[in-house]
């Protein structure tokens, strides 16, 4: 890994699956401290591109690099080690561990990092406060939260890992104006700390503060 390597890099990446949007070929490069926003209509392949970048989907052609390391055909364990404590990921479903109290669900990324329980709790409560989730909710189960709260809690979960990069699929889609502004503020803080962010969003507020944007064209045959 070179010292000035991009955090995320896609080189001529292409992916095609039956009944799924054709993606690519795309190339992009996201350096530390860069906020990169993917735009495009629904079905244009934003989520698929993020999934390729996050290593949860595999590309048919091209290469995916994290901090200069080729992750295109990396084993699950290699990807897990590369994510651990470095890269936070928030999916569109803002999934959380449903069987644990919220603070534990948020702190789960601290487990493979070997953080002690007290430290996990402190970090989780800090992250929840940062995204505007009331501390009183921290002991509740995630299913007791509203959609907006869940989404912010999922972002809080990713914040515990996002020291180098963050990949988030529409992080403000379920937020009211106030909370959307709060989320944007948190993302800006991350950028200022040198974290590379790749997001998809329809939110003009988020698009407005992006360093770079990529507009994906509508998929052939997709409804306007």
């Amino acid at each position: 890994m070179s010292a000035n390597a991009a955090v995320f890099e896609l080189l001529e990446v292409e992916r095609q699956r039956p009944r799924a949007p054709l993606v690519g070929p795309f190339s992009l490069r996201v350096e530390p401290g860069c906020l990169f926003v993917l735009q495009g209509p629904s079905g244009s392949g934003k989520s698929t591109l993020l999934a390729l970048l996050a290593g949860v989907e595999s590309a048919d052609r091209g290469r995916v690099l994290w901090q200069g390391s080729d992750m295109t055909r990396a084993a699950q364990s290699t990807l897990a080690l590369a994510r651990r404590g470095r890269i936070g990921i928030v999916g569109q479903a803002f999934a959380l561990l449903e069987h644990l109290p919220l603070w534990q669900a948020v702190a789960v990324s601290g487990v493979p990092q070997g953080l002690r329980r007290a430290q996990q709790r402190r970090l989780a409560l800090g992250a929840l406060e940062r995204v505007g989730v009331d501390a009183a909710l921290a002991l509740r189960l995630p299913r007791e939260l509203s959609g907006g709260e869940r989404q912010r809690a999922a972002l809080a979960c990713a914040l515990l890992s996002a020291r180098v990069g963050l990949i988030a699929d529409e992080p403000t889609s379920n937020q009211d104006a106030l909370n959307a502004a709060r989320v944007v503020a948190v993302l800006r803080e991350l950028r200022e700390q040198g974290c590379a962010l790749v997001l998809s969003s329809h939110d003009p507020q988020l698009q407005g503060c992006a360093d770079r944007r990529l507009l994906l064209p509508p998929r052939e045959g997709a409804l306007p």
């Binding site: 949860v56 364990s77 897990a80 994510r83 404590g85 644990l100």
Partner: protein, 380 residues
Amino acid sequence: MWNKLGALAALAADNVAAHASAYAASCAGLLLTLAVWIAGLAVVEGQAQQSLAQARAGADVWVGARVLGRHAPLDPALAQQVAALVGVERVELRVVGTALAGETPILIVGVPALSLGSAVRLGEGRAPAVPGQALAGAELARELGLSPGTRLALDGALLQVFEVSGVLAPADALGGAKALLVSVEDAQALFAESRASNLCVWTRPGYAEATARAVERLQPGLIAITREQTATAIERAKSRGSGALSGLLAPLLAMATAAFAAQSWFVHSRRSQEIALYKLSGFSGGDILLLTAIENALVAVLLGTGALLIAWVWVRLLGAPLLAAFLIADLDAFPAQAVPARFTPLPVLLGFALAFASTATGSILAAWRLSLSSARQAFA
């Protein structure tokens, strides 16, 4: 590494608590099978331990006779011959037979009058002081409603009336049997038999084996068994009992393990989203395997503890109903007396070992499948 292991263990404990009902349903069959296994082994061990203690406290050499493969009575004069052997300190006659109390067959054990007071443990009453008095086993006393002062007509070769002077403690070797302890003379009178059933011989230290061989040379058909041989026979009987119990329960445990495996598969299938989230949060496949292994270990500890607790209550507090009768002769299905039992070390160790083996075997496939699952599900 230890910090990570501790964090994984804490998460595993939370997961087991959160999925408690699913685990409980999966483990129900294993729990019951292990409880029966532990309880049965505890009773077998306890009985063997009690018999060994009695054997160690008893005579150094036991002498009987067999003629044409059947037990035969001994001439009382043989006692004098045996007493004259080098190394012999004391010889006692025993008369053993069966008499009827109404329709109930009762084991009659005739021992020297002096031994009636000294060699037994009394639960209530006192030792016989005059001829015609007897000590009743606890189980017999319960069944026939005997207590000190009760009179009992026995039909042996002759009809004779005995007065119960005391009841043996349930922990006594004969306490659990439907037996009546009387003097040798009373037993001989009851059975109209002047001969003895066997001899109990006490020797000087180191003379037991030589005395046994010398006794067998006195007359053809005599059998002399030393205390060590008795202990070996008890150990063999214990092994046979444990083996028979294990033979009966092993197929049940295999079926319960298979049921646990099937349920684990379904429970783990429902956890695919959870595992995908772990993967997205930086857990490797190895971390997932370690997490599920710790969860299984915790389940095994809970399973072993639960089975031990059920077995303990079943045997110690309830008297092993429906179980002791299969393992101890002359006991009812619902014994009123305490059943001898020993839970440490073998039943407890085996219980936990089987719990670990069953849960590990039953969940290995499901855990392996989980470790291979992708993070995709948590992202979509």
